[in-house]
């Protein structure tokens, strides 16, 4: 700090604490609701401290689901979310890194054209081409399958850019040395580029894992089978309309289960997360 102003520092702490409290408030209430019975929640105002029904509620949603809304066990949904997030994260990293390797380290006809083709996909988020993409996937018979959930979301312009940017900073001498020593392009890729890219991969992984886990519109469209729901979709299906009809204690337990894994990834891998966030936006 430039100068010592205790009041200003105190004020800063006050602002931060207020901010944290306001941001955490919905999560706290959600957690409280997930440890109570429905009757306790429906009696207004609901209690503001956690109750004793934690195990009861969580084991019911994990193994059996709700009774009035979606009846699929949330354990299965979380597994689906995990598969979706992991396949999307690893898939994006894998196909982007080889694509940018081709673009940076080779000269071939149509190279610029391909690069622009990938670039343009930035401008076509799934939300703007909902119906036709759905048609393509249903024509290919990929509804209610992991392939349908993940494959259409795996092409990523941002990841390709990130690797391209990074490869540009790799000294030419490395490729030269590899060539002099008689190493082919794939040998160079595996032994030099992949180890050097580890930081970028970790950063991308965090961002893409969250992206995959939190997908909403796409799974909403292509999963009609309860056993293929992801956790985020499951919550939505549990809300049956009407405050009194929804089993809020179970919905809230599912919400906690759906947000804890990605939140943990962000908080535990904070360094990679911040790096990934800043770099994918360059």
């Amino acid at each position: 700090m430039v100068e010592n102003r205790p009041w200003l520092t105190l004020w800063s702490h006050g602002v931060l604490l207020t901010g944290i409290a306001l941001i955490a408030f919905p999560l706290y209430i959600t957690f409280v609701a997930s440890t109570r019975t429905l009757e306790e929640i429906l009696q207004v105002p609901m209690p503001l401290v956690p109750g004793p029904h934690f195990w009861e509620n969580y084991s019911q949603v994990l193994t059996a689901g709700t009774t009035r809304g979606a009846a699929a066990p949330v354990g299965q949904m979380m597994l689906n979310s995990l598969i979706m997030a992991l396949v999307i994260a690893f898939g994006k990293i894998a196909i982007s890194i080889i694509a940018s390797f081709a673009i940076v380290y080779f000269r071939f006809p149509l190279r610029t054209f391909f690069f622009w083709m990938i670039f343009v996909t930035l401008m076509l988020p799934v939300e703007v081409r909902i119906i036709p993409t759905f048609k393509v996937v249903s024509d290919l018979g990929m509804l209610n399958s992991y392939v349908g959930l993940t494959l259409p979301l795996i092409a990523s312009a941002t990841a390709t850019f990130l690797f391209r940017q990074f490869f540009m900073t790799v000294p030419d001498e490395l490729a030269e040395a590899a060539r002099v020593d008689g190493a082919g392009p794939m040998r160079f890729f595996w032994d030099v580029l992949v180890p050097l890219s580890k930081t970028s991969m970790a950063a991308l992984f965090v961002i893409q894992f969250i992206y995959g886990w939190n997908q909403y519109l796409w799974p909403l469209l292509i999963t009609t089978d309860e056993s293929m729901y992801t956790a985020v979709i499951g919550i939505k299906r549990m809300i049956v309309g009407g405050d009194a009809l929804t089993e809020w204690h179970l919905v809230m337990a599912t919400a906690v289960l759906a947000l804890v894994p990605p939140a943990l990834v962000v908080m535990l891998m904070q360094k990679w997360f911040v790096k990934g966030l800043v770099e994918t936006e360059k």
Partner: protein
């Protein structure tokens, strides 16, 4: 920028780029082309035959008051989400930039909402504001405010705006914090020696230097409000009441999936594509300018 040293192979680069290109063609270009094609067609009621009608769909859309209302709703929604979200995050980032003790703990506790899915964020806030059981609804009632977002248009809008901002604060916060930390200390010190108060220093030095970050966040937040908030809206108001929270993306989904109006929905998709392209170009123009700083 080009590499000086390259490898030679007649087939390898094509094999390496093939997966990415194949997925791009099948899931991006094909559907986008289809959307454009459908936007010029009108289907009969049974979806059996369709007829080429040129720009009629577009003309119809811009005569449709629901669509124009949806444009207005989207504009109000995204301006609210972007401006309030950026304002709140700037205050938090300025405070976080000042404190030394507990900095990491503060940061960790502020960034986690980024990991929450928009739909889950919507459910969390919908529960707090629920008309009969919500704890905030109860608190507001003590102040004499009747809260029922299921019926009140303004309240529905308030709910989706709050939920959307809540999720986006952490993103804005991190970018502002990075921006604040790259402001040269020497400038601040010089101003302090000249007797400028912290408040004055912020407005005359720090804030102008942050303007690239602010502009960048403005574009990102508008894109976020346009597209990523779909989950927030679908999990809470579903566009209601009476279309008060029906943003453009939600209308594409609603008309295409729920009303099965292929031509109308595709036409809206095409208009959205044009908006995304404009926003992306704005973003890239900005990045080019930043390089020259």
């Amino acid at each position: 920028m080009e590499k000086r040293v390259v490898f030679r192979s007649a087939w390898l680069p094509y094999a390496l780029i093939a997966p990415q290109i194949a997925i791009t063609i099948v899931f991006f270009f094909l559907p986008a082309a289809q959307a454009i094609w459908f936007s010029f067609l009108v289907q009969d009621a049974f979806g059996i035959s369709s007829e080429f009608v040129g720009l009629q769909n577009f003309r119809q859309l811009f005569d449709d008051e629901h669509y124009l209302l949806s444009f207005k709703t989207t504009a109000v929604f995204s301006v609210l989400v972007a401006s309030i979200g950026i304002g709140v995050s700037l205050v938090l980032a300025t405070a976080a930039d000042r404190v030394i003790r507990g900095a990491l703990a503060y940061k960790t506790l502020l960034i986690w909402p980024y990991a929450v899915a928009p739909a889950v964020a919507g459910v969390l806030w919908a529960f707090l504001f629920a008309p009969s059981v919500g704890i905030i609804t109860f608190a507001l009632k003590q102040f004499g405010i009747e809260w029922n977002w299921v019926l009140q248009e303004d309240q529905a809008m308030t709910l989706v705006v709050i939920a959307s901002i809540w999720k986006q604060i952490s993103y804005n916060f991190l970018f502002f914090l990075a921006g604040l930390q790259s402001v040269p200390r020497s400038l601040i010190e010089a101003a302090a020696i000249d007797g400028a108060s912290p408040f004055r220093r912020f407005w005359t030095i720090v804030f102008p230097l942050l303007s690239p970050t602010t502009f960048f966040l403005l574009v990102v937040n508008i894109v976020y409000a346009f597209f990523d908030t779909f989950g927030v809206i679908d999990a809470t108001t579903q566009g209601g009441p009476a279309g008060a929270t029906q943003i453009l993306v939600y209308k594409v989904y609603h008309d295409g999936v729920k009303s099965a109006d292929l031509g109308g929905s595709s036409t809206q998709s095409v208009i959205l594509m044009i908006i995304v392209i404009a926003l992306t170009v704005a973003q890239f123009r900005f990045i080019e300018r930043k390089v020259q700083y």
